[in-house]
C-alpha cells in the first residue's frame, strides 16, 4: 500500500519581521511570520541576546493577543456613573482636547494635582521624562508593588540587583541557589540557564515554600516558611564565619569591610570614618598606618582598630557570630532543620573554596594593581519576589548579597555577574526630584537613590511632596515609588487631594491593588458635594481590563505588534553580562482599530500642553511621534534612547549624533543592538579599569566609577542616627522605633510586620504567577486560558488532613481584614504552614471580553481581598517594607476552614458592563 505523499517543504510565510515580545518583562526577540498581511506564526529569534531562539508559552501565544476580542477599539468617554461601564466612543481630537482641558489648568496652578502612574510600562525613561516636563512630582511605574526591595537592596549593596540586572555565570557556576522564585522573573533567561546547568549536571538548590517550576527541578528543595529567608541566610553566614570559610582577600580589596566605623559617641557614630579630605581610609597592613582606600599597593587590614574605631569587618563578624544566628536558634522559625542549614553552608563553602579556579585573564584594578588571573568561585544565587515582597524584604535581599560577598562570588567567574549599565554605585544614580512649581518642569528625574535624610521628599511643614509618600520617613529608599498607595492616599486626601489620576497599563481596580474591593469603592466614592473624591481618571490600556470601567476617559493603546517602543539603556535594557543591549518594537502589522500607541499620544498631549522638551519655541511639535523621539531625543550630549547605529554614518556606539536611519538599522539587525564588553573586562567590573573605561565610552557614566561593595550601608546608618535623635531632620516619633530596626547598616532580620495582629491566623498565604502567564497582560488569551483558566488554593497535607478536606471542596479563608471562599486542592510539596494560589487568574465577570460564566470569573479568585493596604494600628501607615515601600503582599496570614463544595468563589462582584463585545470565536 502506498503512503500518501506529504508536502514536507511548504512555504512558511510571505515575510518574517523581527521585533520584541511584550508578553512579559523579558523582552525576547521574536520572528513574526506574516502571510497575506496577517500574523500567522510567532517564534523566538535565534540571534537575540535574551532568548537565543527559544520562546515561552506566552510569547508563542502572542498571535492570540493581537486578535483578542478584548482589544479596545476607539477612545471612550464615560457617560454613566463611574464603574457602570457606560461609555461613548469619541474621536481622538475630542479625547485629547478633554485631557488637555483637565490637565492644562493643573500644570499652570498645581502640577502635583496630576498623579501619573504607569504599570507594566516598558518606556519608563520616556514616561518619567514626560511627567518631569509636566512638573508633577507624582510619577512612578509598578516597581513599588513588584520588587523594589530587590532593586534597592542590590543597588545599595553591590551596585546592581538580581531582577534581570545580572545573572549567574551560567557557563561556570556549579552550585546555583534560587530564593523566592519558582516560576517568574526573569523567565526565559532563567530557564535557559537552568537548562545549561542541568545539561552538565550542576546542582540547583531551591529555597521556596512552594515546590513548582524551577523548584520542581531543583536537586534540593528547602521548603522555607515565608518571611524567614533573611534569618536562614544570616544563619548560613553564621556557619561560614564560624568556620572561617569566607573570602578574606576579596573582602579586603573589593568591599568596605576594611573601612573604619566611627566609634565616637555623637552625630557621626556609626558612619564610615573619613580623613581630612572627607575620604574614607583603611589601615595598611604593611605600615599599620592609615592609607587611602583606593591607594596603589595598599593592603587593607580587616582586623585593624585605629584610635578605638573598628573595621566594618569586625562589626559584621561580631553580629553574625552571635548564637542568635546559630542554625539551632533559627531552625523552628524558618521551618528548616538545623542540620539542613549546616549542610547547605558546608556545600556553599565547599564549592566556593574547594572548587575555586583561575581564569587566565590579566586585568588592572582601579588602584592600578595588575592581576595575572581572575579567581572563579562557582557558586551563584538568584532571588526575586518571594523574599522581597515582605516587610523585611529589603534587609533580606541585602543579607543575600552579603552572603554572596562573603563567599567572594559577585562579579567573579562562576558567580553572579552584573549586566551593563550595572555595576553602578549609588553615587552614580540621581537623587529624587520632587519640588513642584506652577508652570515649571521638575528639575530632574522623580526616582532616585537617597543618600541621607536630606534627600527625602518632605516639605518644610513635614508633609510629603509625593501622593504615594515616596521618599519619606515611612519608606526612605522608595526608589520605584509606591503605586499601590496612590489611590488609597488620593482618596484619603493624605497627604493631599489630587485632581486627575492618569494610569497606564495598571489594573488597579483588580489584581494590582491590595484590598481590591475597597479600592473599587474609593474610585467611585463621592464627597459631600456629589463630586467624585478622585475627580478625574484617565486610563490607557490596549484591552478591556477591570480598570477600564473606573476611568472617565480611555485612551486605547495598540497591541505590541502594532507599535513603536524603545527598550533603552536609560531605564531597563536587555543587556547581558558580556554586552550592553537595547531594542525596539516597530509596527509589524498596522492597527485595524482607532487606537494609538500610548507614547505617541503622550507626545501629542505634551505639545497640546506646551511642555518643554516636547514643544518647539514656536509651539510646534519637536517630535512627530514616538519613533521620531526614539531617534532624535537627546538626554545628554550625544546620548539618546538607543545606543546603536548612532552618528550620521550610523557607526557610533553609545555616544553620537542622532542618525535618521537608526530605526531602519535596528530593524535590519533583528530589532536590537549589542555593544560588546571588551576582552578582559567581562568580570570584576566594578574594579576593572578596562570595564570602567568602556562604560564611560559607551555612555553609562561620564567618568570611571569604581567603588567598594557596601557591607555596611552608610545611607542606612544616617537614618538610624536621625531616629536616635541626631541631626536637624527628624522623623516623626511614631516611626523612630521601626527606623532604628529597619535602617540597620548591617543586614538584619525582624519578623514581618503585623505578626501581633495575625495571632489566630497561623497560616501563611502567598501567590505566584504561573510561567505561562507570568507578568502577562494576556491571561484572557485564548490559548493560555485553556492552560490556566481556574485557580485553586493549594493546601499542604497538614491542613488538608487536619480539616478533613476532600476533592471539590471550598475553604473559607480569613485574614485579620477580610474573608474569601475559594476552591482548594491538595499539594504535598509545600511548606506545612503555607497555602498559595496562582495570582491574577481570577477575573471580574464581564471584563476582558470573557463570557460571564468564564471559570476565571466564577471559580477564579484573588487573595488581594485579604490584604490590607495599611498596617494595623494608629494612623495610615502602608503595608509595605519600611525601607523601600515595597508592597508586603506575602506577609499575609490567614485561617483556613472547610466549607464543602460550592458553586463559585466569594466575594462575587456584579458583572461589569461591557466596553467591548463578548468574545466568541477565534478571529
Amino acid at each position: 500500500m502506498g503512503q500518501p505523499k506529504v508536502e514536507t517543504s511548504p512555504k512558511v510565510s510571505d515575510e518574517v519581521r523581527k521585533t520584541t515580545c511584550y508578553m512579559c518583562a523579558c523582552r525576547c526577540g521574536i520572528n513574526v511570520h506574516l502571510t497575506s498581511g496577517k500574523v500567522t506564526y510567532i517564534e523566538g529569534n535565534r540571534d537575540h541576546p535574551v532568548n537565543k531562539g527559544v520562546l515561552c508559552a506566552k510569547g508563542a501565544s502572542g498571535i492570540m493577543q493581537v486578535t483578542a476580542p478584548s482589544r479596545l477599539r476607539a477612545p471612550l468617554r464615560r457617560v454613566g456613573p463611574r464603574g457602570s461601564g457606560a461609555f461613548e466612543e469619541i474621536s481622538w481630537d475630542e479625547a485629547l482636547a478633554t485631557a488637555v482641558a483637565w490637565l492644562k489648568p493643573l500644570r499652570e496652578e498645581a502640577p502635583e494635582k496630576l498623579a501619573f502612574f504607569t504599570g507594566r510600562d516598558q518606556s519608563q525613561s520616556f514616561t518619567g521624562w514626560w511627567a518631569q516636563q509636566f512638573g508633577t512630582p507624582n510619577y512612578a511605574a509598578h516597581g513599588g508593588f513588584c520588587s523594589v526591595n530587590m532593586a534597592a537592596a542590590g543597588t545599595y549593596t553591590i551596585g546592581g540587583a538580581f531582577w534581570e540586572f545580572g545573572q549567574p555565570d551560567w557557563a561556570h557556576t556549579k552550585l546555583f541557589v534560587l530564593f523566592g522564585v519558582a516560576e517568574d522573573h526573569d523567565s526565559n533567561p532563567i530557564k535557559i540557564g537552568i537548562g545549561k546547568l542541568k545539561a552538565r549536571g550542576a546542582k540547583v538548590v531551591g529555597v521556596n515554600p512552594v515546590r513548582t517550576g524551577y523548584n520542581a527541578v531543583a536537586d534540593e528543595w528547602v521548603g522555607i516558611t515565608p518571611g524567614t529567608d533573611g534569618l536562614l541566610i544570616l544563619s548560613l553566614i553564621h556557619c561560614l564565619l564560624e568556620a572561617g570559610k569566607i573570602d578574606l582577600d576579596y573582602l579586603a580589596r573589593w568591599t568596605n569591610a576594611p573601612l573604619l566605623v566611627n566609634a565616637a559617641e555623637g552625630p557621626e557614630k556609626g558612619l564610615i570614618l573619613k580623613n581630612a579630605e572627607s575620604q574614607p581610609f583603611v589601615i595598611d597592613k604593611r605600615t599599620g598606618m592609615p592609607a587611602p582606600w583606593d591607594g596603589a599597593g595598599v593592603q587593607p587590614d580587616l582586623g585593624a582598630v585605629w584610635q578605638g574605631h573598628r573595621t566594618v569587618f569586625q562589626h559584621m563578624a561580631e553580629r553574625y557570630l552571635s548564637a542568635d544566628y546559630a542554625p539551632e536558634a533559627v531552625a523552628d522559625r524558618c521551618g528548616v532543620p538545623a542540620g539542613r542549614i549546616r549542610a547547605l553552608a558546608a556545600e556553599l563553602a565547599r564549592v566556593a573554596f574547594d572548587e575555586a579556579f583561575e581564569l587566565p585573564v590579566a586585568w588592572t584594578d582601579f588602584r592600578g594593581d595588575r592581576h595575572e588571573s581572575m579567581t572563579g568561585r562557582p557558586v551563584s544565587f538568584h532571588a526575586m519576589r518571594g523574599i522581597s515582597a515582605h516587610s523585611n524584604g529589603f534587609q533580606t535581599a541585602r543579607a543575600l548579597h552579603l552572603l554572596q560577598i562573603l563567599l567572594g562570588t559577585v562579579e567573579v567567574p562562576g558567580g553572579y555577574r552584573l549586566k551593563p549599565p550595572y555595576p553602578k554605585p549609588v553615587e552614580a544614580h540621581p537623587t529624587p526630584h520632587f519640588v513642584a512649581a506652577p508652570g515649571k518642569p521638575l528639575s530632574g528625574p522623580h526616582l532616585g537613590y537617597v543618600r541621607g535624610p536630606e534627600n527625602l521628599a518632605i516639605k518644610e511643614d513635614g508633609t510629603p511632596w509625593r501622593i504615594d509618600k515616596g521618599f519619606t520617613w515611612e519608606n526612605p529608599f522608595s526608589a520605584h515609588g509606591l503605586m499601590h498607595m496612590v489611590i488609597p492616599n488620593a482618596h484619603a486626601g493624605d497627604p493631599y487631594k489630587v485632581d486627575t489620576l492618569f494610569l497606564y497599563m495598571a489594573n488597579m481596580s483588580w489584581n494590582s491593588s491590595m484590598n481590591s474591593a475597597r479600592v473599587m469603592e474609593m474610585l467611585t466614592d463621592k464627597d459631600a458635594s456629589g463630586e467624585y473624591v478622585i475627580p478625574r481618571i484617565i486610563y490607557s490600556d490596549a484591552y478591556a481590563s477591570e480598570m477600564v470601567a473606573y476611568a472617565d476617559l480611555i485612551l486605547p493603546d495598540t497591541t505590541y505588534l502594532e507599535r513603536y517602543d524603545c527598550i533603552s539603556l536609560l531605564d531597563r535594557p536587555i543587556s547581558e553580562p558580556d554586552a550592553a543591549g537595547d531594542a525596539i518594537r516597530w509596527p509589524v502589522v498596522e492597527a485595524d482599530r482607532d487606537v494609538r500607541g500610548f507614547q505617541s499620544v503622550l507626545l501629542d498631549l505634551g505639545v497640546r500642553l506646551g511642555l518643554p522638551g516636547i514643544t518647539n519655541p514656536d509651539g510646534t511639535a519637536k517630535f512627530k511621534d514616538y519613533a521620531d523621539y526614539m531617534v532624535n531625543h537627546i538626554r545628554r550630549p550625544g546620548v539618546g534612547p538607543l545606543i546603536g547605529f548612532r552618528g550620521v554614518d550610523g557607526q557610533a556606539e553609545g555616544r553620537g549624533d542622532p542618525n535618521p536611519d537608526q530605526l531602519a538599522r535596528y530593524i535590519e539587525n533583528g530589532g536590537f543592538y549589542q555593544a560588546h564588553v571588551p576582552d578582559g573586562a567581562a568580570y570584576m567590573k566594578p574594579w576593572n579599569m578596562a570595564y570602567q573605561e568602556w562604560a564611560v565610552a559607551t555612555s553609562f557614566y561620564e567618568t570611571p566609577q569604581p567603588y567598594l561593595f557596601s557591607i555596611w550601608s552608610e545611607p542606612m546608618r544616617k537614618f538610624q542616627l536621625a531616629a536616635e535623635g541626631h541631626g536637624f531632620l527628624q522623623p516623626p516619633d511614631h516611626l523612630r522605633a521601626r527606623l532604628k530596626v529597619a535602617m540597620d547598616p548591617l543586614p538584619v532580620w525582624y519578623p514581618p510586620f503585623g505578626e501581633a495582629a495575625a495571632e489566630g491566623y497561623p497560616v501563611h498565604a502567598i501567590t505566584q504567577r504561573p510561567m505561562a502567564m507570568y507578568h502577562s497582560w494576556g491571561s484572557q488569551n485564548a490559548w493560555l486560558r485553556q492552560i490556566h483558566g481556574k485557580n485553586y488554593l493549594y493546601l499542604p497535607t497538614k491542613i488538608w488532613e487536619a480539616e478533613g478536606f476532600a476533592e471539590g471542596d471550598y475553604a473559607r479563608v480569613t485574614s485579620p481584614t477580610g474573608e474569601i471562599v475559594v476552591p482548594v486542592a491538595h499539594m504535598a510539596a509545600l511548606n506545612p504552614d503555607t497555602v498559595w494560589t496562582w495570582n491574577a487568574i481570577g477575573k471580574r465577570r464581564g471584563a476582558w471580553a470573557l463570557d460571564a460564566g468564564a471559570p476565571e470569573a466564577n471559580q477564579g479568585f484573588l487573595l488581594n481581598h485579604l490584604i490590607s493596604e495599611l498596617l494595623p494600628g494608629e494612623g495610615r501607615v502602608s503595608n509595605s517594607d519600611p525601607v523601600t515601600g515595597q508592597a508586603a503582599w506575602f506577609d499575609l496570614r490567614v485561617r483556613v476552614e472547610r466549607v464543602g463544595p460550592q458553586e463559585r468563589a466569594e466575594p462575587a462582584f456584579e458583572v461589569l458592563p461591557r466596553v467591548v463585545p463578548k468574545g466568541r470565536a477565534r478571529v
Binding site: S9, V12, A57, A60, L344, M771, A829, D851
Partner: protein, 245 residues
Amino acid sequence: MTGLPERTEKKLGLVIDLDTCVGCHACVTACKGWNDQGYGAPLSDQNPYGADPSGTFLNRVHSYAVQPTDTAAQIINFPRSCLHCEDAPCVTVCPTGASYKRAEDGIVLVNEAACIGCGLCAWACPYGARELDQAAGVMKKCTLCVDRIYNEALPEADREPACVRTCPTGARHFGDFADPESKVSRLTAEREGFALMPEMGTRPVNRYLPPRKKDRPEEASLLAPLLDIKATGLAGWLDRVLGKI
C-alpha cells in the same frame, strides 16, 4: 485495519528530560501555533472566550505530585504527545488507512483526507496522544513537525519540531533513534532513558529521561568551627581567621 511497516529506515522521535522540564508549557503553545497553520486542518478552539473553553492540542504538559517515602514531596512535569510507536495500535485499528506509520522515518501520521473521524485510534492509543478536532472532524496528533524537519524553506537550524526549537530549558531533543550515535540515542544511553508503559507492547520510539535523585544532600562533612568562639571571644576568632591571610 491498517498495516505497519516491517521496519523503518529511521526512527525519528523525541527525548524529553523530566529532570529539566520546569512545566512552562512553552512547547504546548509553540506546537499549537505551528500546527494551527501547518500540516492538515488548523487546531480549532471551541468557546475560546466562553465558560468552558476547549481546543485541540497535540502536546500537553501535566504536573504530577510524587511523595517519596524518605524525602520531601516532589512535582514532576510531564509533557505528553504521540510517542510514534513501532507497534502503533492507533495505526492497526484504523478502518480507513488514514493512520499510518511512515516507512522512511517512522513518523505516525494521519492522512486527513482519508480520516472519517471515528475516533477508534484515540481509543486504541494508551497514551491519550490523539485529539479529534471538533471543527474539522478529523483526528489530530503530533506530526513531529513533518513539515518543518525536512523543510527547505526553513534555515537548517530550524528543521526540528517547533516544541524542541522553543523549549527554554532545552529539555526536549529530536533525532534518529536508529542511529546509535545520534544525540537522542546517546542521551538515552547515558541517562537511562525509558519508554512509557512498555507493558502495553506498543514499543514507543520517544524516550523520557528520568528525574535525577533529589533531596539527598551529599554527605558533605559539615563545617568545623575554627575554634571555640565562646571561649576565645571575637578577638580569638579574628586572630585565627586573619592569621590565614
